[in-house]
Amino acid sequence: MSENPVRDAIQDAIRDHEVILFMKGTPEQPMCGFSARTAAALEALGAEYAAVDILPDPRIRQELSAISNWPTIPQLFVHGELVGGCDIVSEMYESGELATVLGVDGGGTPAPEGAQPGAAPMQIENRLG
Protein backbone atom coordinates (compact mmCIF):
# COMPACT_ATOMS: atom_id res chain seq x y z
CA MET A 1 0.00 0.00 0.00
CA SER A 2 1.55 3.25 -1.08
CA GLU A 3 1.03 6.59 0.58
CA ASN A 4 -1.30 7.68 -2.18
CA PRO A 5 -4.45 5.54 -2.10
CA VAL A 6 -6.29 7.72 -4.61
CA ARG A 7 -3.52 7.33 -7.19
CA ASP A 8 -3.39 3.59 -6.50
CA ALA A 9 -7.14 3.30 -6.95
CA ILE A 10 -7.02 5.16 -10.28
CA GLN A 11 -4.14 3.03 -11.55
CA ASP A 12 -5.97 -0.14 -10.49
CA ALA A 13 -9.14 1.02 -12.21
CA ILE A 14 -7.27 1.79 -15.46
CA ARG A 15 -5.54 -1.58 -15.33
CA ASP A 16 -8.62 -3.60 -14.41
CA HIS A 17 -11.06 -2.13 -16.93
CA GLU A 18 -10.53 -2.70 -20.62
CA VAL A 19 -12.39 0.51 -21.45
CA ILE A 20 -12.74 3.20 -18.79
CA LEU A 21 -13.92 6.78 -19.07
CA PHE A 22 -13.11 9.41 -16.44
CA MET A 23 -15.74 12.10 -16.75
CA LYS A 24 -17.65 14.86 -15.00
CA GLY A 25 -20.91 13.30 -13.87
CA THR A 26 -22.20 9.95 -15.08
CA PRO A 27 -23.16 8.66 -18.52
CA GLU A 28 -26.80 9.14 -17.54
CA GLN A 29 -26.21 12.55 -16.03
CA PRO A 30 -23.10 14.15 -17.49
CA MET A 31 -22.16 17.45 -15.88
CA CYS A 32 -20.17 18.87 -18.78
CA GLY A 33 -20.77 18.93 -22.53
CA PHE A 34 -17.38 17.42 -23.32
CA SER A 35 -18.00 14.48 -21.01
CA ALA A 36 -21.49 14.07 -22.46
CA ARG A 37 -20.16 13.99 -26.00
CA THR A 38 -17.47 11.44 -25.20
CA ALA A 39 -19.86 9.12 -23.38
CA ALA A 40 -22.32 9.47 -26.26
CA ALA A 41 -19.67 8.28 -28.74
CA LEU A 42 -19.11 5.14 -26.67
CA GLU A 43 -22.84 4.58 -26.33
CA ALA A 44 -23.36 5.04 -30.07
CA LEU A 45 -20.89 2.23 -30.74
CA GLY A 46 -22.54 0.00 -28.17
CA ALA A 47 -19.24 -0.23 -26.34
CA GLU A 48 -19.06 -1.67 -22.85
CA TYR A 49 -17.16 0.61 -20.56
CA ALA A 50 -16.61 1.61 -16.97
CA ALA A 51 -17.10 5.26 -16.02
CA VAL A 52 -15.69 7.21 -13.10
CA ASP A 53 -17.21 10.51 -11.99
CA ILE A 54 -14.26 12.70 -11.01
CA LEU A 55 -16.36 15.40 -9.39
CA PRO A 56 -16.96 13.97 -5.89
CA ASP A 57 -13.29 14.23 -4.88
CA PRO A 58 -10.88 16.80 -6.38
CA ARG A 59 -7.98 14.45 -5.71
CA ILE A 60 -9.25 12.11 -8.44
CA ARG A 61 -8.74 14.73 -11.13
CA GLN A 62 -5.43 15.84 -9.69
CA GLU A 63 -3.99 12.33 -9.52
CA LEU A 64 -5.49 11.27 -12.84
CA SER A 65 -3.86 14.18 -14.66
CA ALA A 66 -0.56 13.43 -12.92
CA ILE A 67 -0.73 9.81 -14.12
CA SER A 68 -1.87 10.53 -17.65
CA ASN A 69 -0.01 13.80 -18.29
CA TRP A 70 -3.29 15.12 -19.66
CA PRO A 71 -4.85 18.24 -18.15
CA THR A 72 -8.50 18.00 -19.08
CA ILE A 73 -11.55 15.84 -18.46
CA PRO A 74 -12.88 13.57 -19.93
CA GLN A 75 -10.15 10.98 -20.46
CA LEU A 76 -10.73 7.67 -22.18
CA PHE A 77 -8.41 4.73 -21.53
CA VAL A 78 -8.44 1.50 -23.54
CA HIS A 79 -6.27 -1.41 -22.47
CA GLY A 80 -4.49 0.81 -19.97
CA GLU A 81 -3.54 3.47 -22.51
CA LEU A 82 -4.87 7.00 -22.76
CA VAL A 83 -6.74 7.31 -26.04
CA GLY A 84 -7.59 10.97 -25.55
CA GLY A 85 -10.14 13.50 -24.48
CA CYS A 86 -13.32 14.70 -26.13
CA ASP A 87 -11.68 16.10 -29.27
CA ILE A 88 -9.63 13.02 -30.09
CA VAL A 89 -12.41 10.58 -29.20
CA SER A 90 -14.85 12.56 -31.36
CA GLU A 91 -12.43 12.61 -34.31
CA MET A 92 -11.82 8.89 -33.92
CA TYR A 93 -15.54 8.20 -33.70
CA GLU A 94 -16.16 10.07 -36.92
CA SER A 95 -13.28 8.39 -38.76
CA GLY A 96 -14.19 4.91 -37.56
CA GLU A 97 -10.93 4.53 -35.63
CA LEU A 98 -12.75 4.43 -32.32
CA ALA A 99 -14.74 1.35 -33.29
CA THR A 100 -11.47 -0.31 -34.30
CA VAL A 101 -9.72 0.58 -31.06
CA LEU A 102 -12.70 -0.64 -29.05
CA GLY A 103 -13.02 -3.83 -31.07
CA VAL A 104 -16.62 -3.14 -32.05
CA ASP A 105 -17.96 -2.97 -35.57
CA GLY A 106 -19.74 0.30 -35.03
CA GLY A 107 -23.11 -1.38 -35.33
CA GLY A 108 -23.68 -1.93 -31.66
CA THR A 109 -21.96 -5.27 -31.14
CA PRO A 110 -20.68 -5.49 -27.57
CA ALA A 111 -16.95 -5.59 -27.02
CA PRO A 112 -15.48 -8.92 -25.99
CA GLU A 113 -15.78 -9.78 -22.33
CA GLY A 114 -12.69 -8.89 -20.37
CA ALA A 115 -13.00 -6.18 -17.82
CA GLN A 116 -14.34 -7.11 -14.45
CA PRO A 117 -16.06 -4.84 -11.96
CA GLY A 118 -13.46 -3.49 -9.58
CA ALA A 119 -13.79 -2.66 -5.92
CA ALA A 120 -12.13 0.72 -5.68
CA PRO A 121 -12.69 3.58 -3.27
CA MET A 122 -14.07 5.55 -6.19
CA GLN A 123 -17.59 5.32 -7.48
CA ILE A 124 -17.27 3.31 -10.62
CA GLU A 125 -20.37 3.34 -12.72
CA ASN A 126 -20.24 -0.08 -14.26
CA ARG A 127 -21.32 -0.25 -17.85
CA LEU A 128 -20.17 -3.79 -18.32
CA GLY A 129 -23.57 -5.30 -18.91
Binding site: S65, G84, I88
Partner: protein, 75 residues
Protein backbone atom coordinates in the same frame (compact mmCIF):
# COMPACT_ATOMS: atom_id res chain seq x y z
CA UNK B 1 -9.22 36.77 -18.54
CA UNK B 2 -7.37 35.38 -21.57
CA UNK B 3 -8.43 36.49 -25.03
CA UNK B 4 -8.37 34.56 -28.29
CA UNK B 5 -5.48 36.79 -29.39
CA UNK B 6 -3.55 35.96 -26.20
CA UNK B 7 -3.93 32.26 -26.82
CA UNK B 8 -3.02 32.54 -30.49
CA UNK B 9 0.08 34.62 -29.70
CA UNK B 10 1.26 32.28 -26.98
CA UNK B 11 0.78 29.13 -29.05
CA UNK B 12 2.56 30.63 -32.05
CA UNK B 13 5.40 31.93 -29.86
CA UNK B 14 5.92 28.59 -28.12
CA UNK B 15 5.72 26.23 -31.08
CA UNK B 16 8.10 27.08 -33.95
CA UNK B 17 6.35 27.75 -37.23
CA UNK B 18 2.91 27.19 -35.73
CA UNK B 19 -0.22 28.78 -37.07
CA UNK B 20 -3.13 28.96 -34.63
CA UNK B 21 -6.75 29.96 -35.08
CA UNK B 22 -8.54 30.42 -31.77
CA UNK B 23 -12.27 30.79 -31.16
CA UNK B 24 -14.03 31.77 -27.96
CA UNK B 25 -16.80 29.20 -27.91
CA UNK B 26 -19.06 30.89 -25.40
CA UNK B 27 -17.95 34.52 -25.47
CA UNK B 28 -17.09 34.12 -21.79
CA UNK B 29 -13.32 34.06 -22.18
CA UNK B 30 -12.89 30.60 -20.68
CA UNK B 31 -14.04 28.02 -23.27
CA UNK B 32 -11.84 28.08 -26.35
CA UNK B 33 -11.30 26.06 -29.48
CA UNK B 34 -7.96 26.18 -31.25
CA UNK B 35 -6.89 24.79 -34.59
CA UNK B 36 -3.11 24.52 -34.58
CA UNK B 37 -0.95 23.66 -37.55
CA UNK B 38 2.75 23.13 -36.87
CA UNK B 39 5.52 21.34 -38.80
CA UNK B 40 6.78 19.52 -35.70
CA UNK B 41 3.44 17.73 -35.37
CA UNK B 42 4.46 15.52 -38.30
CA UNK B 43 6.57 13.42 -35.94
CA UNK B 44 4.09 13.39 -33.04
CA UNK B 45 1.06 11.23 -32.33
CA UNK B 46 -2.28 12.99 -31.96
CA UNK B 47 -2.08 12.66 -28.18
CA UNK B 48 1.41 14.16 -28.20
CA UNK B 49 0.28 17.00 -30.47
CA UNK B 50 -2.46 17.94 -28.01
CA UNK B 51 -0.10 17.59 -25.05
CA UNK B 52 2.32 19.94 -26.79
CA UNK B 53 -0.35 22.64 -27.10
CA UNK B 54 -1.69 22.08 -23.59
CA UNK B 55 1.86 22.41 -22.25
CA UNK B 56 1.97 26.01 -23.48
CA UNK B 57 -0.60 26.86 -20.82
CA UNK B 58 0.36 24.53 -17.98
CA UNK B 59 -1.95 24.75 -15.01
CA UNK B 60 -4.03 27.48 -16.65
CA UNK B 61 -5.86 24.63 -18.39
CA UNK B 62 -8.68 23.73 -16.05
CA UNK B 63 -8.13 27.03 -14.25
CA UNK B 64 -8.61 30.38 -16.03
CA UNK B 65 -8.86 28.47 -19.30
CA UNK B 66 -11.69 26.16 -18.35
CA UNK B 67 -11.66 24.31 -21.64
CA UNK B 68 -9.42 24.29 -24.68
CA UNK B 69 -10.76 22.13 -27.45
CA UNK B 70 -8.08 21.25 -30.00
CA UNK B 71 -7.66 20.27 -33.59
CA UNK B 72 -4.03 19.76 -34.54
CA UNK B 73 -2.26 18.80 -37.73
CA UNK B 74 1.14 19.09 -39.37
CA UNK B 75 0.03 20.97 -42.49
Amino acid sequence: MPSTDDLKTRIEAAIPGAHADVLDLTGGGDHFRATVIAPEFASLSRIEQHRRVYSVFGTEIGGPIHALSLETRAE
